[in-house]
C-alpha cells in the first residue's frame, strides 16, 4: 500500500528550493539598502546584509558571498537553517508597510551556493604565522568557526572530533529537508581550504583526550563540545523498541543515503516542542509515515519552535497536539494526559487518552555531557564563560551550545567560535 501519495519525490530533497536567477534579481531589488540596518542588528553574526544583497542585485555574486562569509564562515548553512523569521527577516523594514520581508535567508543561499559551485582559490588569506598552537574540541559550527578564524589570524589549529565526520549538528543534527545533499561536507572542505587546520577524528574528551593534556600541549584550548546528552521522559516503557531520541533518529536519517532511506513506522509520535521535534516530525512524514503527531505538554505559544516552523509542520501533514503530557508507553503506542495552565503553572487534568504509535521520537531537550569537564565551572547546565568566552580554567575558552551565550542556534555557535578566536588571538599576541 502506498503510504502517502503526496510525499515528495525524494525525502532527501530540499523543502525550500534555491531561488532561480530571476527570483533572486526580483527579491534583491526589494532591499532598500537601509542605513545601520535593523536586519544586521538582528543577525547574531552581524552579516552586512544590505551590502551582500546589493551585490546580488548588481550581479556581483562572489562579492556577495565574500561579504557573508567574512562575518559568518558558515553562511551557507545558516542560509538554510536559521530561523530568519525571528532574526533578520523579522527586523526587515519591508514588514512595516508590506508585511513581507525581503527573503534574506534565500538570497544568502543564492550567493553562497554560487561561490560553492565555482572553482577558485579560497576567499581568505592567512596572516603571517604566529607559531602559536590552539586545540579545538568539537568540529561543529562553534569549533570550525573558531578554527577558521584562528587559522586566518596565523595560528596553527588541531581540531579533535569524536565522530567520524566533521560538521557537528550540520552533519548529524539537521533534517535533510533543510540540509539537502552533502552540503555540510562541502562546507567543511571549504573551511579547511584556509590551511593550518588539522582534524583528528575519533578523539573524544574523556576517552583518549583530557583537558589537562590539551592545556599542557597547546597555547590555548577552545571547547565547542555541544550538548551530548538527552533528557529522559522518565515514564514507563521509555526503554521499549521503537522509542528513540529524535537526535539519534535524525542522525540515522542523515547518515543513510537517498537510495536506502531510513524506515519509519506507519504512525509516528514525536514528543517535544522545539526545533528538533519539528525537524523529526516533518522528516518522518517525508520519509513516508502515514500519521505523524507532535505532542507537546504546553500550548503553541510556549513552544521553542517558531510559529513559522509550527505552520511548516502542519502544511507538511504533521498534527500538533498541545497540552498533552506523556505518561506511559506500551506495545500499542503512547498514553497521554491532558494538561492545562493554571495561573501560569502547568497542571494535569487526570484525563487520559492513547495514541497508536509504531515509532516514538523524544525531543525533550539536550544536556551537557559533564564527563571530562572537571575543573570547569558549570551553571544551569552550561559551561560558564566571561565576556571573552573564557572559562574558569586558564587558557580554556568555550562557545556554542555548551555555553549560555544566546539561543541554541547554529548562527550563535558560529558567532561564539568567531568571538572566542578573536579573544584567543588578543591573548596570544598581547
Amino acid at each position: 500500500m502506498t503510504l502517502n501519495a503526496d510525499i515528495p519525490a525524494s525525502p532527501y530533497a530540499d523543502l525550500t528550493p534555491p531561488l532561480t536567477a530571476v527570483q533572486a534579481l526580483a527579491e534583491s531589488n526589494r532591499c532598500l539598502f537601509c542605513y545601520d540596518a535593523a536586519c544586521v542588528r538582528a543577525c547574531p553574526t552581524g552579516i552586512d546584509i544590505p551590502s551582500f544583497i546589493r551585490s546580488i542585485a548588481t550581479g556581483n555574486l562572489k562579492g556577495a558571498a565574500t561579504t557573508i562569509l567574512s562575518d559568518n564562515i558558515m553562511g551557507g548553512t545558516c542560509a538554510r537553517v536559521c530561523p530568519t523569521e525571528t532574526l533578520c527577516e523579522q527586523a526587515c523594514v519591508r514588514n512595516t508597510a508590506e508585511e513581507r520581508p525581503v527573503a534574506i535567508g534565500r538570497l544568502q543561499r543564492h550567493a553562497t551556493d554560487h561561490l560553492f559551485a565555482r572553482k577558485g582559490p579560497h576567499l581568505f588569506a592567512r596572516a603571517a604565522r604566529t607559531g602559536k598552537r590552539v586545540a579545538v574540541v568539537g568540529a561543529g559550527p562553534a569549533g570550525l568557526s573558531c578554527a577558521h578564524r584562528l587559522a586566518t589570524l596565523g595560528h596553527e589549529v588541531t581540531v579533535y572530533e569524536a565522530k567520524p565526520k566533521s560538521g557537528g549538528l550540520n552533519e548529524y543534527g539537521l533534517a535533510p529537508y533543510k540540509m539537502a545533499d552533502d552540503f555540510a561536507q562541502r562546507e567543511v572542505a571549504f573551511i579547511l581550504e584556509i590551511g593550518g587546520i588539522t582534524i583528528e577524528h575519533g578523539r573524544r574528551l574523556g576517552a583518549d583526550l583530557s583537558l589537562e593534556t590539551l592545556r599542557a600541549e597547546f597555547d590555548a584550548v577552545f571547547l565547542g563540545v555541544g550538548l551530548g546528552g538527552n533528557n529522559l521522559l522518565n515514564i514507563p516503557g521509555e526503554e521499549r523498541d521503537g522509542v528513540e531520541n529524535a537526535t539519534a533518529f535524525i542522525e540515522r536519517v542523515r547518515q543513510a543515503t537517498p537510495d536506502a532511506p531510513v524506515a519509519v513506522g506507519r504512525s509516528v509520535v514525536v514528543i517535544g516542542g522545539g526545533n528538533t521535534a519539528i525537524d523529526a516530525a516533518i522528516q518522518a512524514k517525508r520519509l513516508g509515515a502515514e500519521d505523524v503527531t507532535l505532542v507537546y505538554r504546553r500550548g503553541r505559544g510556549q513552544m521553542g519552535a517558531t510559529a513559522w516552523e509550527q505552520e511548516l509542520a502542519q502544511t507538511n501533514g504533521v498534527v500538533l497536539k498541545t497540552f498533552a503530557a506523556p505518561v506511559a508507553i506500551d506495545a500499542q503506542g503512547i498514553t497521554l494526559e491532558r494538561t492545562r495552565l493554571e495561573d501560569g503553572k502547568l497542571v494535569s487534568t487526570g484525563e487520559r487518552y492513547s495514541l497508536p504509535a509504531a515509532m516514538i521520537l523524544k525531543a525533550v531537550g539536550q544536556t551537557l555531557a559533564r564527563e571530562a569537564l572537571d575543573g570547569l565551572t558549570i551553571a544551569g547546565g552550561k559551561i560558564v564563560i566571561d565576556d571573552d568566552h573564557r572559562t574558569s580554567l586558564g587558557k580554556v575558552y568555550a562557545g556554542g551550545d555548551c555555553v549560555a551565550s544566546g539561543e541554541d542556534l547554529t548562527v550563535q555557535s558560529v558567532q561564539d567560535g568567531k568571538l572566542a578566536a578573536l579573544a584567543i588571538h588578543r591573548h596570544l599576541t598581547a
Binding site: L25, A26, N29, L32, F33, C34, Y35, D36, A37, A38, A57, T58, V93, R94, T96, A97
Partner: protein, 426 residues
Amino acid sequence: MADLRSTIAGIRSPNPFWLASAPPTDKLTNVVRAFQAGWGGVVWKTLGEDPPVVNVSSRYGAHLDNERKLIGLNNIELISDRPLEVNLQEIIQVKRDWPDRAMVVSLMARIEEEAWAGLARRIAATGAVDGLELNLGCPHGMCERGMGSAIGQVPEMVEQVTRWVKNATNLPVIVKLTPNITNILWSAEAAKRGGADAVSLINTVNSIVAVDLDAMAPTPVVDGKGSHGGYCGPAVKPIALNMVAEIARNPDTAGLPVSGIGGVTNWRDAAEFLALGATNVQVCTAAMTFGFKIVEDMISGLSNWMDDKGYATLDQLSGRAVRNVVNWNDLNMNFSTKAVIDPALCIDCGRCHIVCEDTSHQAIRIDPGDGRRIFTVVNEECVGCNLCSHVCPVPDCITMQPEENGLPPMTWPNDPRNPMRAAAAE
C-alpha cells in the same frame, strides 16, 4: 467627460496620442493594429528616395535599471527600408480604412530642393496624407550621408528645407527637431522662419547606450563593433520637457504649435508636455516596451485627471505651466521650505538620514524610539533641498512644507547678498 479631440497645424485626431515616426509605424500591419488599439494618429516611419536604405542586423541597445525595467532605448536603425511605392500604397489603404485618424508622413532627403520637393509631392499625391513631418534629427547613419541631424544641426539648412517643402505642397509641415544642438531655439526659430506649421521634438539623443564588457564594444554589437545611436525613452523626458518649455516661453517662437516627443510613457507624462505648451504628444518607446494597449490608460487617465481638475478641452490645459517656467534669476530668494518626516508612515530604513549626512546638510537626526528609530529634521540645518523626500521609499512620508517667514518675494538681482547688485548700485 473631458473632450480629448486634438488639432495641431490643422491636423485633427480623436485624441492627442500619436505614434512617432519609428519602427511601430513602419508598415500597414503595425499601423492598423495601433488604430485598432485606439491611437489617435501616426507619423509614418521616415520615407526617403528610392532605392531604399539597407539596415544592419542587431539594431537596439537598452538602458535597463536594476530590475530590468527599460528606462532608455537606443537604435541604429535607418529610415524605412522598403520601396517608396509600397509605403505609399499602404498609406492610401490605411487612410481609407481609418479616415478619422491623423496620417502624417515623415520624410528625409538630400540637401537639394528637388529631392525634398519631389518626395513631398509624391507623398501628397496619394491624397491620403494629413501632413508632413521633416526628419532633420536622426543622429546616426543618415547624418553620415548628409541627412538627418547633419541638416537639423544647421539652422540655415533647417529654414531652407522647411521652405522647400512648404512651397512644394499645400500640406501642413511639422519640422522635427534634433536635441543634439547647443540651443533648441535656433532650430525652432529657423523652422518658423521657413514657414513651419508646427515643430515636433525631441528626436533621439546621440548616445552610446552601453558597452558589452565581453565583446568590448558598444551595444548593439554588429559583428564585434558598435556605433553611436539615437537614445529615447523615459530617461530622455526631462531633456525634452525643457526644450519644449524653452520654445513655449520664447517670444519669437511662442504660439508655434509643438508636438511633444520624448519618453512619454503614460497619461501623466503627456499632461506634463501639454502643460508646458505642447498641443499633442508622440510616443514610441513605451509602445515598443509594452505594445499598443497602453494607449487605453493614456486616454482614460488623461480624461479622468482633466475631469478632476476641471479642464474640459485640451486647449484649456495646453501651456498652463508655461508662465511658471522662469529663469533662475526670477526665483524668490526669500522662499523657504523644510522637510517634515511623518513618524507614523516611517518604516525606519534610515535612507533619508544617511544621504543627508553623507551628501547634503547633516539635517536629519536619529533618536532611539520604542523599537523603531525616530528621524527628525533639524530645521536650522535643512535647506529644503528635497533629497530626503526623493530617496524615501514610502509615498508622502517626507513632505516639503513651506515656512512662513513674513518676507516679501525678492529675486537675486534685488538681493542685498548679490555682489553684482552692490556693484550696480555704486
